[in-house]
């Protein structure tokens, strides 16, 4: 248990997300149970676990797509409360990538990417477009800028979604099963973008079933089951020498 506790509060570095005593219910269903977790700047935290374990709900609480009922969430020194100004501030600093991409189908790729910088950051159109092209090049699809999302493949759409989040230049990126809706053939191109992003020092929380990704770039792996954090550790520790029975049985099924 000692190893778990020490991994919950990483030593050194600057905390950017701090979650303590978090509880959430969907109706009567207790979906998140006393979650304590903090993330340092530049850290990549991978959250894994069986479906229905509350992984997605946890990261959706971080930018208030879901409301929590108990506990405290602090992002970049701002506490998430009912105060709309705080919610807006936090959403500006957190980018999110969804399983279903959620690109805006009625806007071109370029408009998808520049919309928030222009509207939220009050950037000039030309400046926003320049920035958008920079990030579209980064995800390797600048040539698709004038197309509509419906004309792109799943992998391309997800890379646009990543560029859209990055163009806001957030401090934290949240990934909610970014490769789960993709054809197996194109999973690689999205993971590659995410690996590069991690190596450049972006702070990321990634909910995923891609164990290879967790091993390669994860600083810490969080295993959740039934709304609780069961075990936390470095990938080496986690995959080679898991402590909890539940973790062992989960890993034995998927590895």
């Amino acid at each position: 248990m000692d190893s778990v506790v020490s991994a919950l509060a990483p030593t050194g570095g600057q905390t950017i997300i701090d979650i303590s005593g978090l509880n959430k219910w969907f109706g009567d269903f207790h979906v998140l149970r006393n979650i304590n977790m903090s993330v340092n700047k530049g850290e990549v935290v991978v959250v894994i676990g069986p479906s229905g374990s509350g992984k997605s709900t946890l990261i959706r609480c971080v930018n208030r797509l879901e409301e929590h009922q108990q506990g405290k969430i602090v992002v970049d020194d701002i506490e998430l409360t009912d105060d709309v100004r705080n919610i807006d501030k936090i959403r500006r600093e957190t980018g999110m990538v969804f399983q279903q991409f959620n690109l805006f189908p009625h806007l071109t790729v370029l408009d998808n990417v520049t919309l928030a910088p222009i509207r939220v950051r009050k950037m000039k159109k030309s400046e926003a477009e320049q920035k958008a092209m920079y990030y579209l090049e980064k995800v390797k699809i600048p040539e698709q800028a004038s197309k509509f999302p419906g004309q792109l493949s799943g992998g391309q759409q997800q890379r646009v979604a990543i560029a859209r989040a990055l163009t806001m230049e957030p401090k934290v990126m949240l990934f909610d099963e970014p490769t789960s809706a993709l054809d197996p053939e194109v999973v690689g191109e999205v993971l590659e973008v995410m690996v590069n992003l991690a190596k450049e020092g972006m702070t990321m929380i990634v909910v995923t079933h891609e164990m290879g990704f967790a091993r390669e770039v994860g600083d810490r792996v969080v295993f959740m089951d039934a709304g609780q954090i069961v075990e936390v550790g470095t990938p080496e520790h986690f995959f080679v020498n898991p402590q909890e029975e539940r973790t062992k049985s989960f890993l034995s099924k998927i590895l």
Binding site: T94, F98, N102, F104, P105, H106
Partner: protein, 407 residues
């Protein structure tokens, strides 16, 4: 081994092949086809035969002015024409300013409208000398608006305001100013029970369509509001309005509205217009709600996650998509509203339908054997069909134009 790509099998094409495949594929189908064709041909031929040889169009022709503007004083006929000119001029400007994409729809509607106006002008030129110069002016202004807007693109900024102003100016020209004695505007009052016909039908339907649209959206959004007071007000409003026929609301507006307003009695035309707008808005709200509910939840979430304000995400993300998915329903409502304006006859106003019924009962009309009701109804059928069909064409164009990025 990789299979080579083969050309598709050759299909017989052409009218004969199509007929053989669809109409005469076996004996039974051939029999049905022949019988159906005979019945259709017989129906069409006898209708045409009646229209050309038996029908008496003289009374329809002689009453065209009555059906267009009703009993609007003949010496003031330039005033309704002036409102037509304003609208056509702005229509021309809109067409001149519209770019590609959805702008093509405006231009196509403009071309149709100019064709229609041109046709009337030709008829007026030969048959109705009293208005021929007025109609020529309409055509000239329609074309001038187009080229003016082309030459001065900055006008695009003023266009929405010009359209709003045009409503008031048109109404001002049509109604004039009430009161007695010295009238500084020089436009004497023409009571609404004198004017009607086609111009009233258009005035009611255009105003109704333009006003019920934003009101319906507001009600649909209100119905989804988290604030119970707004939410239940909207639900209550929508369900109450939809719970009674339009005629009921026209009567209510006509008889009860003055009571609510403490004895102030707005013109009948305003009262009827309010009833139509409020009625259509309830239906509009439900159409829009359908669109809002069809939108995947992820779209809202993505807009929130990017930090867009609720107003921006509604305006830029949610509404454009929600409305796009219910265009057919919305245009259906507009077409219905256009035709429902014929009900205003029951509150003492004379739209095209009411005037036509009056024409049918003129002593001169009754002298004709069999009356002229059939002729009048065919005339109206063509009139209503022309504009309903045009709206339906615009709806289809809009769907195509907005069906973006569908693979």
């Amino acid at each position: 081994m990789l299979q080579p790509a083969l050309p598709p099998p050759v299909r017989e094409t052409g009218t004969l092949a199509w007929m053989r495949r669809n109409l005469f594929s076996n004996l039974w189908n051939a029999l049905i086809s022949v019988v159906a064709l005979v019945v259709i041909a017989w129906g069409v031929l006898s209708l045409l035969n009646w229209m050309v040889f038996a029908a008496n169009w003289d009374r329809v022709w002689a009453n065209l002015r009555l059906m267009s503007i009703f009993r609007y004083p003949i010496e003031l006929v330039w005033r309704p024409m002036a409102s037509v000119m304003i609208v056509i001029f702005l229509f021309g400007m809109s067409a001149g300013l519209s770019k590609d994409g959805t702008g093509r729809i405006v231009r196509s509607a403009y071309n149709w409208m100019m064709g229609f106006v041109g046709f009337i002008t030709l008829v007026a030129l030969f048959a109705f000398p009293s208005v021929r110069f007025l109609w020529i002016a309409v055509v000239v202004l329609g074309v001038a608006g187009f080229w003016l807007a082309r030459a001065v693109p900055v006008l695009a900024k003023a266009l929405p305001w010009l359209w709003i102003a045009s409503w008031f100016v048109s109404l001002f020209f049509l109604l004039g100013v009430g009161g007695n004695g010295n009238n500084p505007t020089g436009l004497e009052f023409v009571p609404p029970n004198l004017w009607g016909g086609i111009i009233l039908t258009f005035f009611f339907s255009v105003t109704g369509i333009v006003l019920c649209f934003p009101l319906g959206i507001a009600l649909a959004l209100g119905r989804q509001s988290k604030l119970p007071a707004i939410k239940y007000f909207c639900i209550f409003y929508i369900e109450i309005i939809r719970g009674a026929p339009l005629i009921t609301w026209l009567f209510t507006a006509s008889l009860l509205l003055p009571l609510f307003l403490g004895g102030i009695r707005p013109e009948a035309i305003i009262r009827a217009q309010v009833a139509i707008v409020l009625f259509a808005a309830a239906y509009m709200a439900e159409n829009v709600r359908g669109g809002l509910q069809a939108l995947p939840k992820g779209q809202r979430e993505a807009a929130h996650a990017l930090g867009l304000t609720p107003w921006d995400s509604m305006r830029l993300i949610i509404l454009p998509q929600a409305l796009r998915s219910v265009i057919p329903a919305i245009v259906g409502l507009f077409i219905g509203l256009f035709k429902d304006t014929s009900l205003i006859t029951i509150v003492g106003l004379f739209d095209l339908f009411a005037v036509a019924l009056k024409v049918a009962t003129q002593p001169e009309s009754k002298l004709i054997a069999g009356g002229i009701v059939r002729e009048l109804f065919i005339f109206m059928a063509i009139f209503y069909w022309f504009f309903c069909f045009r709206m339906s064409v615009a709806s289809r164009q809009l769907e195509q134009e907005l069906g973006l990025g569908t693979r």
